[in-house]
Structures are given as C-alpha cells and as structure tokens.
C-alpha cells in the first residue's frame, strides 16, 4: 500500500529555463516521491509517452516561454485519448493569471506561479491525486 507517488517533471516546448523544474523535482524527491525528469524540449507526445512508460500518478510541467496555452492542453488531450485521464496534471512557470481559468478548463488541475513555496506544490499533489 506504501507505493510511492510517481511524478514526471516535464519541460514541454523549446524553453530552456529549467531551474524551477529541477528545484521542484528535487523537492518532491526529498519529500519521498519517485521523480522522473524529462529534460528539455519535450513534445506533448513525448511527455505522454514517458508518463505511460513510467506509470506516473502526476505530470508536473514547467514553462516560461509563453507557449503554455498551446502545449499544456495538448498533454491533457493526449492523456484522454490514451485513456489515462486519471493522471493529475499541474503546471508552473511564468503564466499570466488571466490564462489560468482556460488551463483549468482543459484539465490542468493547478498552476503555480513564481515564488510558490515547494511545500505548497507538494501538499497540492498529496491532496489531489486522482489515483488512490
């Protein structure tokens, strides 16, 4: 029953800012989760494939380039297509408040902006897993 929460930390698109993604990856690992980091420049297809291969409970995407409205929803669409809609999908990065309702409507459960403490993200994951 003590299966660790498995998280894919992903960098979709061409953005190279990975400080946040790496800090989050390490904070989640230090909190006892199993973390897989994709590295840079992942297409939504690659992210979903990695999520399936690694059988993750959570996909945490970080993006600072402004392409979030295009790339984040593509990931949730693909998850639904593959029949694994029970993966919790969250996002973070430089994302204007105005875009968050749209992203939530597309299945991104939460969006964490700059300055969010890692423990806020950790608690959100622990409280909102779709897989029990």
């Amino acid at each position: 029953m003590d299966r660790k929460i498995r998280v894919l930390v992903a960098k979709p698109g061409l953005d190279g800012h990975d400080r946040g993604a790496k800090v989050i990856a390490r904070a989640l690992r230090d909190d006892g989760m199993e973390v897989i980091y994709t590295g840079l420049r992942q297409t939504p297809e690659q992210i979903v494939q990695a999520a399936m291969q690694e059988d993750v409970d959570v996909i945490a995407m970080s993006l600072l380039s402004g392409a979030h409205n295009h790339l984040f929803p593509r990931v949730t669409e693909l998850l639904a297509e593959k029949g694994i809609g029970d993966v919790l999908v969250i996002g973070g990065g430089v994302i204007p408040e105005d875009d968050i309702p749209f992203l939530k409507s597309k299945g991104i459960a939460a969006v964490f902006g700059p300055g969010t403490p890692t423990k806020t993200t950790i608690e959100f994951i622990r409280n909102n897993l779709k897989r029990k």
């Binding site: 061409l14 980091y37 590295g39 402004g66 430089v94 700059p114 300055g115």
Partner: protein
C-alpha cells in the same frame, strides 16, 4: 590580503572589547550574517582586510585602464562617456519589433539588443512542428533575410551598435546582419555589435543548443577567424555568466564558470591556429547583477583581475585589449517577484547601481513586470529611466571605481577571486570546461546552489520582501503585454510566400556548397553568408548543419 598587521591598529582591541559588552546586552539579529551568495560576512572590515597602499595596491588593484584592470578597463570610464544603455527587446514579428526598437532609440537608448524567439534560437523555421505555440513569444521570429530587412528598416547599421542574443545559430544571424548592412550600403568593417555565440553556457544553463560541442566550437572559432579579417569591430562572443547565475549559481561560481568557458574558447581558437592577440581583443563578457550591492561590485572587479591574469600568464597575450574583460550587465531576472511587482523597480535600481559601480560597459535594466510577462512600454521606460537617473543624478558615474579601498569591498573582491580560482583549478583537473560540462559537474554545482537558496527562502532564513514577508492581498496584475497569437500563422504565410518568389535553384546550390564546407575544414562563414543572401531560411541552413554535425543530446539530471 593586506600589508597591515594587527599591531598597527591599536584601537581595534578596545573596539572588540566594546562589541563584547554590547553583545552581552543586545544579541545581533542573527547568528550568521551572509552575502547574497551565502558567504560569511564579518561584523567589521578594517585595513587588515584590504591592500592599503604601496606595492600591494599597485599589484592587486593598480589603475583603471591598466593591468590587472581590477579598477576598470578604461582610464576615465564614465567621465568620457556613460555606459551603453541597451535594453534587450523583441517580440512577435519583425514589424512589431522594429517599432519597439525605434521607440527605444527615441527614448534615448544608445544600442540595440535583439531578443529572438525560441524557434529562431534553436534553428527552426516558424513552420516547423516544434515551433508551434512558440513563434514570436520570447522574442522576434526571424526565418530569413527578408525578416531581418524589416527588423532593421529605417535603422542605419553604421550608426547603432547591435547586440544579438543568439548562440547555436549565431553564424547565420550574423550573416543576415552583414547582408542587411550590404543592402543599406554599409560595409561589414563599419559594423559594431555583439553576438552572444556562447554555446557552453547553453549546455549548462540556457538550453538553446543545437549541435554537439566539437562542431559548435568549430562554428565559434570560424566566426572568430572570419570577423578578425572582415568585421573587425564586432564582438564575436559574449561569454555569459548571466544565465549561469539565473540558473541559481553563486556570485563566485558565476565568475568561475564563465571564465572557465572563456578559457575553453581561447584554447579552441588557439588549436584552430589563430594567434591569441588576433581574436582575444574581441572577446566580451556578460554578467548578472543581483541584490547584494557590495558582493556584486566585488564580483565584477574580481572577474576583471582574474581574466587579465589568465590572458597574460596562461595565454601570453601581449595586446592590452586581449587582457581586458569588457562586459555587459543585465539585472537579475530571477530576483524579481511576481508579488507586488512595483517593488522590482527598487531591486533593479540596486542591481543597476552595482553594475555601474562595478564598471560595466553596457547595461540592461529589467522591467518590473518581467516575473509576469514580457514588459510593456511603460515598464521599459521606467527601467531605462532608472539607468538615466543613476547616470545623471546619483553621482556614481563621476569618478572611476568609487568603492575601491573599501575594506569590505576589497576583501570581497579577494574572496571571490580565490573561490573562482579554486573552481577553475577543479575544472582544469577535470579536463577543461567542455569535459566538466559533459560530466555534469558544472550543472550539479549550480543546481545545488539553486536548491540551497530555495530552501533558505522557504525556511525564512532569507527574506524576499513581498514573497515570504510583508505580503499583501493583491488583485491580479492588469495590462500585461500579450503577443498576438496569430503571429505564428502570419509568419508561416510569409515564409511560404518567400519560398515561392526566391530563386530556389540558387538556394539549393548555396546549401549544397555549405554542406560540402561543413564536411571539410573551410571556414563556414562565407558559405553561410552566401546562402542567406539567396534567402535560404535559418531552418534550411541549420538543417544542413544538423545533417553533417548531428544534434546534442543532454542527460536529464536534477
């Protein structure tokens, strides 16, 4: 490092006794005081901590404009001319960015700084599948010479200096710039500006790499060789600590990893048969400025001293220009908060002041809204005005290296130098910067520092105003800049129309010639220039090179 001894300071003992009494009654705010980078800070600095005069002064500090350049690379510095106020800008398409550059020039900027979108930086045309959603977002989309002509329309290239933040495909964008100048009737030897062209920090901290290290280094040294003959006033590289610091490094690591990269470029150029004094005068640097004013000033001073010694002692450069570390500074994007964003104006002021007190050659001040989006015109104006206030009102520009002789600043300068030299030694032992990066050493050091910082903030050991203390409830910010989402489609249409009207046979021939050159050893600049003149696209040129060189595949560690 001082030539004074404790016995020369008879009053010090009674000061220390007084402190003990005070501490017994009022403990200090915290047990340990540290700099922005986490180095210990003493209660008081005295002549024991700094070169005081005579020989130690002459050897370690010297005079502005002379070796070891601790006090600056120019003897009159800002008394002659203020630093170049250069605001990094670019978004959407060439038309929109051209308007922003004209706005900035009207507002009194003295040089342009071009931000390219990510597809351009990674050598993809706007119609590539990986470009979807990214076109025009973090900078301007440039697919071909046709876009570049619009970008600089009405901007005479013999009158401005232009910095281009472009790395992996730097040769292609430089070639396009030269080709636009030709069309304006400006010959390449009149051009002034900079390409970033620093691939090593892309592998470590910024992520816009294309090719593996060996062919990337060849492209860089080809540019050195080509420009030394044809574009002599061009800064052929801007060896960048900025992004290393943004990725989370300390100030000393910023100096160390940047200069270690610099050493790797010099070694590559020497190996390619260039003479050090032919290319080294055009090497330039790019640093960050964070909030710890004194540590940042010390960082710039230490960087100059360390680099000049490396160039003189290790590479035997004799031209003084080869020994001078000239640098651009940008204030620290990662220090800005999304919370209470107007406070960022104050942070930027402190950081910009550090750059000026540190003797920067040019400066970009960030806008208050950059933790939220690309800056609006209003925000950019405040950022530029911040520089102008420092330059014209603060008095900081009226004398050269005003903080020299501060016991604290000199001590910090020595400490950063010492730490940087230790890192450079370690990197040398690993086989140089390229090997150290391939082994993940540099990345790991930066990540450790980034994580430490984040944990310090979360524990409250480090206060960030408005973020973990003095928070308020605030409404979401209004009036952020949004890039028109249709820019991608329009760019794709432009590209299709270009491909229909250009001489496709000439493009093909130019690309075949480029491929042959890439497989051989000839300098790649001439065939790239020929291809862009014929309106070969950036993606087409980079695809030819990808075919010959392959692509870099990093390991994903954290």
């Amino acid at each position: 490092m001082s030539d004074i001894e404790k016995k020369d300071l008879p009053g010090l003992a009674s000061y220390e006794a007084g402190v003990d009494k005070s501490l017994a009654r009022f403990p200090e705010r915290r047990a340990d005081f540290v700099t922005g980078s986490g180095s210990p800070v003493k209660r008081l600095y005295t002549p024991l901590d700094a070169p005081s005069g005579g020989e130690a002064y002459e050897k370690r500090l010297g005079y502005p404009g002379s070796y070891p350049y601790t006090r600056g690379v120019q003897n009159t510095l800002y008394r002659g001319r203020l630093w170049t106020m250069r605001q990094y800008a670019g978004f959407s398409n060439a038309e929109e960015s051209n308007k922003r550059y004209k706005f900035l020039l009207e507002q009194g900027t003295t040089g342009l700084s071009i931000a390219f979108d990510l597809p351009t930086q990674i050598g993809y045309d706007s119609d590539h599948s990986l470009s979807q959603g990214e076109v025009g977002k973090v900078g301007v989309a440039i697919d071909s010479l046709a876009d570049m002509e619009i970008l600089f329309d009405g901007i005479p290239l013999d009158k401005v200096s232009t910095s281009m933040t472009i790395n992996a495909p730097a040769a292609v964008l430089l070639a396009m710039y030269i080709a636009v100048a030709e069309k304006q009737g400006v010959s390449a030897d009149k051009l002034e500006g900079t390409i970033q062209n620093d691939i090593l920090k892309e592998y470590v901290a910024r992520g816009t790499y294309i090719f593996p290290p060996a062919p990337s280094m060849r492209l860089i040294t080809d540019i050195f060789a080509y420009c030394s003959k044809n574009v002599p006033n061009w800064n052929t590289i801007s060896i960048s600590g900025y992004h290393i610091r943004e990725a989370g490094s300390t100030a000393a690591q910023e100096v160390a990893f940047t200069l270690a990269d610099g050493i790797a470029y010099v070694e590559a150029a020497l190996k390619a048969g260039l003479a050090v004094d032919d290319f080294a005068p055009r090497l330039s640097f790019f640093f960050n400025a964070h909030n710890d004013l004194f540590e940042e000033v010390a960082k710039f001073r230490a960087a100059r001293r360390v680099w000049s010694r490396i160039m003189k002692e290790r590479f035997h450069a004799t031209n003084p220009k080869s020994q001078m570390l000239r640098f651009h500074t940008q204030t620290g994007g990662s220090t800005l908060t999304a919370q209470q964003p107007d406070n960022n104006v104050v942070r930027v002021t402190i950081q910009a002041l550090a750059a000026v007190l540190g003797g920067t050659q040019s400066l970009h001040t960030n806008s208050r809204d950059e933790a939220l989006a690309l800056p609006t015109e209003d925000s950019v104006r405040i950022a530029l005005r911040t520089q102008q206030i420092i330059g014209y009102e603060s008095g900081a520009a009226e004398t050269v290296d005003p903080l020299a002789g501060s016991y604290y600043v000199e001590s910090l300068t020595d400490r950063i130098e010492e730490e940087a030299l230790a890192y450079i030694k370690r990197i040398d032992d690993l086989g140089g910067a390229v090997r150290a990066i391939e082994q993940g050493y540099v990345q790991q050091e930066i990540q450790n520092a980034a994580y430490r910082y984040q944990m310090d903030v979360e524990k409250g050991d480090r206060i960030v105003v408005g973020l973990n203390k003095f928070q308020i409830k605030e409404a979401p910010p209004k009036g952020l800049l949004r890039v028109d989402p249709s820019v991608g489609e329009r760019q794709v249409e432009k590209l299709a129309s270009l491909k229909a009207r250009r001489d496709n046979a000439a493009v093909k021939a130019a690309l075949v010639a480029l491929e042959a050159a890439a497989k051989g050893e000839d300098n790649l600049m001439p065939p790239i220039l020929e291809a862009v003149r014929k309106y070969a696209t950036l993606g087409e040129v980079c695809d030819v090179l990808r075919g010959v060189f392959g692509e870099y595949r990093p390991s994903a560690m954290f």
